[in-house]
Amino acid sequence: MRETFTKGMARNIYYGGAVFFFLVLIGLTVDTVKRLPATDNRENLTEQVAEGKRLWEVNNCIGCHTLLGEGAYFAPELANVYTRFGESTEAIKAFIKYRPVDGIEGRRSMPQFNLSDEELEDLAQFLKYVDGIKAARDWPPNIQG
């Protein structure tokens, strides 16, 4: 490195670059948050859906599944499971309700969470709400998630 490019210049690029792009990130964040109502399906974010999100969290569904592509890669993508199950909350509820306690021999198994009917309904409504989020290019690419 030539001596025309000094440590001081490098330090200034670091300070300037970091501050500038941090401000850009903040600006973009403000703009994104403002635009979210058009895509985030908040009109369907009911108390019940919020309860469903809480159940999703305290049962750690993300520990095996992905939701909008984020999470673990052991079990299927669930952002579009509502559509995949024929737009049926009943189908979703039945799937969760009838998981065998000891799993399925030799296969990747989902626990039996012993959820009440009300909890199952909350969780299914949450997944229906997620399916309604307008992800760019209508991600995932197809019905299989």
Binding site: T6, L36, G63
Partner: protein
């Protein structure tokens, strides 16, 4: 070791390695569950093994960063640590809290753990990597504050070197961004958006400052290169890390319900994220090439070079592979993600901590470097772990390509579980490589106990 309080690092490093072993044991457990789906079900379902694996990783790396800071800051600041007793107390608090949390994951169903820890008062549980009960998270903040206070006071009342200040900035950033883990809105899009303010701004942001400063420190020590040269490189590297990584956060905002402009911004800026890792490779190769001494700790030199190379490959190259939106549309949330994640974490953060341990442990034990035999085993463990990780990554990459082709790209896509069955041989190969990695780790630990002739003290 010039200052007595540097020795506190030893405690932190021992805990780090012990937790690392735990992490890998649960890793190979999950690898087996991928192919023998009901292994340990229902006692330890996959998601429990996973949260143990990932949380142990994060906690042991934090112990590693803290130990590294306790070792290098007194030396750089040219004074003893501000409060050695605080460092020791915090060590035990962090270790016990961490152990209890992991035991909580294993012994109690997660929903029950949420009830017991009063998650409802401020619900923060149930998100990836942030599975810790809210009370544990509060504990982490307290430990982090005490740590930053201790290190901060040491730096502020001592010599402020560039390495010190960059490390401190990284650590403060780590603590500040962790606060976003307390924000858990009902709105899933908002939840996901700000979750990345912890995860991305950590591993593709402030953690890079920590990594670069630790690497710079070790390279100065083992090559004798001029501090001025290293300090200039360090500024350039971290400048590129933040210039690319801040808006580069956008490569996580492609498909989660956020505006379309992120596909452009995220792609362009994150495509630049390999640059700081490329520069670290140039930097490491260059200073070793131009070194003024042959340091007797050959293992440490190898770890330092290996860190730069593997971080560039795992974070830089493999990251670039799936960072552009048109590619990511098909690969998002597949084994490609897992492939990148493993090599990136190992190359950048696991290896930089192991580099610091390799360099400082002998010094804390009163030697210039480990004996010839110990170094031989350590160097062998370096190669076994590194090559195993490359194989793990290649197997997951191959699995990911097949998964994308069959499940995402095909005109007639197959269901997830059907595709997973087709990937079985890749997963078996990955598991074998994982077991080899575990063996490498045991060899690494053994190297600290191996006896042999001392190294010649060549300067």
């Amino acid at each position: 070791m010039k200052y007595e309080s540097q020795g506190i690092a030893k405690l932190y490093f021992i805990a780090a390695i012990a937790l690392f072993v735990g992490q890998i044991l649960f890793g190979v457990t999950m690898g087996l569950q991928y192919v023998m789906g009901d292994f340990l079900f229902p006692e330890i379902p996959f998601n429990v093994a996973r949260m143990v694996h990932t949380n142990l990783l994060i906690v042991w790396l934090l112990f590693g960063f803290m130990g590294s800071a306790y070792y290098l800051v007194p030396e750089e600041a040219e004074r003893e640590l501000f409060s050695p007793i605080l460092a020791k107390v915090m060590f035990w608090i962090f270790l016990v809290a961490g152990a209890l949390t992991i035991l909580g994951y294993l012994l109690v169903p997660y929903a029950r753990l949420a009830e017991l820890t009063m998650n409802d008062l401020l619900p923060t549980m149930g998100r990836e990597f942030l599975e810790q009960p809210t009370i544990t998270k509060i504990g982490i903040v307290i430990v982090a504050l005490a740590f930053i206070f201790n290190i901060g006071m040491t730096v502020l009342t001592g010599r402020k070197t560039v390495i010190n200040l960059v490390l401190l900035t990284g650590l403060v950033g780590l603590a500040v961004f962790f606060l976003f883990s307390f924000y858990n809105p009902d709105n899933l899009v908002l939840d996901k958006y700000f979750w990345w303010f912890v995860v991305h701004l950590w591993v593709e942001g402030v953690w890079e400052l920590i990594m670069a400063s630790l690497l710079a420190y070790v390279l100065i020590k083992v090559t004798g290169v001029d501090r001025e040269v290293i300090e200039k490189w360090l500024y350039i590297i971290i400048a590129m890390a933040l210039i690319s990584g801040l808006v580069g956060t956008g490569h996580h905002f492609f498909w989660i319900g956020t505006p379309d402009y992120w596909q452009w911004l995220g792609s362009i800026f994150s495509a630049l994220e390999p640059i700081p890792f490329f520069m670290m490779t140039l930097f490491a190769f260059n200073v070793v090439n131009k070194r003024r001494r042959d340091h007797p700790n050959k293992a440490a030199v190898l770890w330092a070079l290996g860190t730069a190379v593997m971080a560039f490959l795992g974070a830089g190259v493999w990251g670039f592979l799936h960072t552009l939106a048109p590619v990511n549309f098909y690969t998002h949330g597949t084994q490609i993600t897992a492939a990148h994640g493993h090599m990136a974490f190992y190359g950048a953060y696991v290896m930089v901590v192991l580099t610091m341990i390799s360099y400082s442990m002998p010094l804390m034990r009163g030697q210039k470097a480990a004996n010839v035999n110990a170094q031989k085993h350590e160097i062998r463990s370096f190669w076994i772990m590194t090559i195993s990780m490359v194989i793990i990554t290649l197997m997951l990459t191959a699995a990911g390509i097949m998964q994308v082709y069959l499940q995402r790209y095909s005109a007639d896509p197959l269901p997830f579980m059907v595709v997973q069955d087709r990937l079985a041989h890749f997963y078996w190969a990955r598991e074998v490589a994982g077991l080899a990695f575990l063996y490498g780790l045991f060899l690494y630990i053994y190297s600290f106990f191996a006896k042999g002739p001392e190294v010649a003290d060549v300067e």
